[in-house]
């Protein structure tokens, strides 16, 4: 309430011309380059196109039907989708176990905390393309340092072609994407931990709660909102990931489609397939993905709300 009154006293008026002059540059750029293409994007998927952007006719949901009935989409789309889900699930599990553990332990440190935060966040700031190529070199079966280290440790049997085998390529992709991303949850969890009044935890220990129970019943419920927010961001990131899989397996998700994801499929259909109606089909794919992400994010928010109410 106090905030509102203060805010109201700040607000002033200006002549309409001045307002327009202040707003117009941002609005024009935003509307022309972002809003207009976005609005047309939702319509693209409902039309048939020929050779680029030549309109043929309105064909209702036929492009969506094609995705679910015709090759190669009917084979590649579910596979890519499962890979996206695996990347999301793997990241979710690791950031809420390892990531949460690291954040809680860092929170107990004094001066060293900032140093660890910086070290853990560094991979997050490096381009996913650089990360992908770097790990391709590090994991290379010929002169990769990782396999050299494994052999030095006497673990020759583990020194496989990590990104060359379909069975190991996806797990490696998941682990590397966690390696890059996890500093972000660690930082956010740390900030949320810092906002918990120490009296709460102290009160619980006076009441005789041990470390684990204090964490479970005092700290964890207070972290639910931030864990929820980060999980939704992880979901969006997992469903939209493009650059890291591209660096590992190129546009086809090699080996044998083991690292294929939806955005790579979209890229292939849009720019490499040469199909006459590529625009219609790939727009349908992008629309489906958009709806799935939107639905998932909204569902996630509802789940967090419910969880918060249950815990409080």
């Amino acid at each position: 309430m106090a905030q509102k009154i203060k805010y109201a006293s700040n607000v002033q008026r200006a002549p309409a011309v001045v307002v327009v002059l202040f707003i117009l540059p941002a609005f024009a750029l935003f509307a022309a380059v972002l809003l207009y293409p976005m609005a047309s994007a939702l319509g693209y998927s409902l039309f048939e196109w020929r050779g680029g952007a030549n309109l043929v006719r309105f064909n209702w949901f036929e492009n969506f039907v094609v995705l679910f009935t015709e090759q190669p989409y009917v084979e590649q789309m579910p596979r890519a989708f499962l890979h996206n889900i695996a990347i999301f699930a793997g990241t979710l599990v690791l950031q809420n176990s390892l990531g949460l553990f690291l954040a809680v332990q860092l929170h107990k440190l004094g001066r060293m905390r900032r140093l660890f935060q910086v070290l853990y966040t560094t991979p997050y700031l490096v381009s996913p393309l650089v990360v992908g190529y770097l790990w391709t070199l590090l994991l290379s079966p010929s002169f990769g340092p990782v396999n050299a280290a494994l052999e030095w440790l006497g673990l020759e049997s583990l020194a496989v072609s990590w990104l060359g085998e379909p069975t190991t390529a996806l797990p490696v992709l998941i682990l590397v994407s966690v390696w890059q991303w996890i500093g972000f949850p660690v930082l956010l969890y740390g900030a949320a931990l810092g906002a918990i009044p120490p009296e709460l935890s102290d009160a619980a220990s006076v009441d005789g709660a041990d470390g684990w129970r204090r964490f479970r019943h005092v700290t964890l419920p207070l972290l639910t909102p931030v864990i929820g927010t980060v999980s939704i961001l992880t979901f969006i990131g997992g469903m939209e990931t493009f650059t890291l899989p591209y660096a590992f397996g190129g546009a086809t998700g090699s080996p044998a489609g083991a690292t294929d994801v939806l955005s790579l499929l979209f890229f292939r259909v849009s720019f490499q397939s040469g199909a006459s109606n590529a625009l219609g089909v790939s727009s349908a794919l992008a629309t489906l993905l958009f709806l799935f992400i939107l639905g998932g994010a909204l569902l996630g928010r509802r789940m967090i709300r419910a969880q918060e109410e249950r815990l409080s």
Binding site: Q12, Q105, L119, V130
Partner: protein
């Protein structure tokens, strides 16, 4: 009863009379604490060692890397950088990336500043709707926009021009920039403007001379946080650029990795060149980045 639930742990800590420093020193010595500290350092090594390997190997020759991928560079060479920079046109790519990133950040900040100021400080019709419209841009999935943007740029004959990327990134940065700046402008006291008007200022001079300088910290945050994703973006340049002379570092890196497959030393140098500006930025603005990433949580 409470007494029955007292555990060893809390008994040990029960006489918590001594200062916190003594307590924490004792805790650090316990076996559990040693294990935890080890884990923290191990994970730090997992984070940093790959990046250090990248940097070290970029100063070694291909032969040295092939025979022994681990040790420190004993007689460092800058040969790899010379060949990547000159022969593999990384100099050209870096220039393109810098031009695109700097222009995009500058344009989106320049147009967002007055818009954010108007939204934050003035009452006018449609203000709420306008703010909501800008905010909706934060939720736009990039993939859905790629094809329409591609055909928009195609129509403007801007395919294979850095200008297409500058336009896209500038527009794409507006929602975030407005969002951050509005919250800063709102915190400034109203008396500032009143005083400036009494001194004979008009809306433009008050905005430029008084208000913009006051939100400089917010501008710094916005610049840092727009710089990183634009510098790192790969999909847009991949779609929009055709000729080698216009490549950004990301797209240049992909052709480089195809052509220099057997020259690992140069590959590592290429990776470092692509990352270096970000590392410099990170070192210069560590505090800003960490505060920005955790904004809105805690204090």
């Amino acid at each position: 009863m409470n007494d029955t639930t007292l555990t060893l742990d809390s008994v040990e800590r029960a006489p918590s009379g001594p200062p916190a420093a003594a307590r924490s020193r004792r805790r650090r010595r316990s076996p559990q604490a040693v294990v935890i500290t080890t884990v923290l350092w191990l994970y730090a090594a997992v984070c940093v060692l790959p990046l250090l390997t990248m940097i070290f190997n970029s100063f070694r020759t291909h032969l040295q890397i092939a025979t022994d991928p681990w040790p420190l560079p004993t007689d460092p060479t800058v040969e790899n950088y010379v060949s990547a920079w000159a022969e593999a046109s990384f100099g050209r790519y870096a220039l393109n990336s810098i031009l695109i990133t700097v222009c995009s950040v500058a344009i989106s900040t320049a147009v967002s500043l007055p818009a954010a100021y108007a939204i934050a400080r003035w009452r006018f019709r449609g203000r709420g709707a306008l703010e909501g419209l800008f905010m909706s841009g934060l939720l736009i999935p990039f993939m859905l926009a790629i094809l329409p943007m591609f055909y928009l740029m195609d129509g403007l004959r801007l395919i294979d021009s850095p200008l297409s990327l500058i336009l896209i990134y500038s527009a794409n940065g507006i929602p975030f920039t407005v969002f951050v700046l509005v919250s800063f402008f709102r915190q400034l006291p109203g008396e500032l403007e009143e005083a400036a008007f009494l001194d004979g200022g008009n809306h433009f001079t008050v905005f430029l001379r008084i208000m913009v300088p006051l939100v400089r910290p917010a501008i710094a945050t916005v610049v840092v946080f727009r710089f990183v994703p634009i510098w790192n973006d790969f999909l847009m340049p991949l779609v929009m650029l055709r000729s080698r002379d216009n490549y950004t570092l990301g797209v240049g890196l992909t052709t480089f990795f195809g052509e220099y497959q057997n020259d690992w030393a140069s590959l590592f140098a290429g990776l470092v060149i692509t990352t270096l500006p970000l590392l410099v930025l990170f070192i210069l603005a560590t505090r800003q980045i960490i505060q920005g990433l955790t904004a809105g949580i805690g204090k």
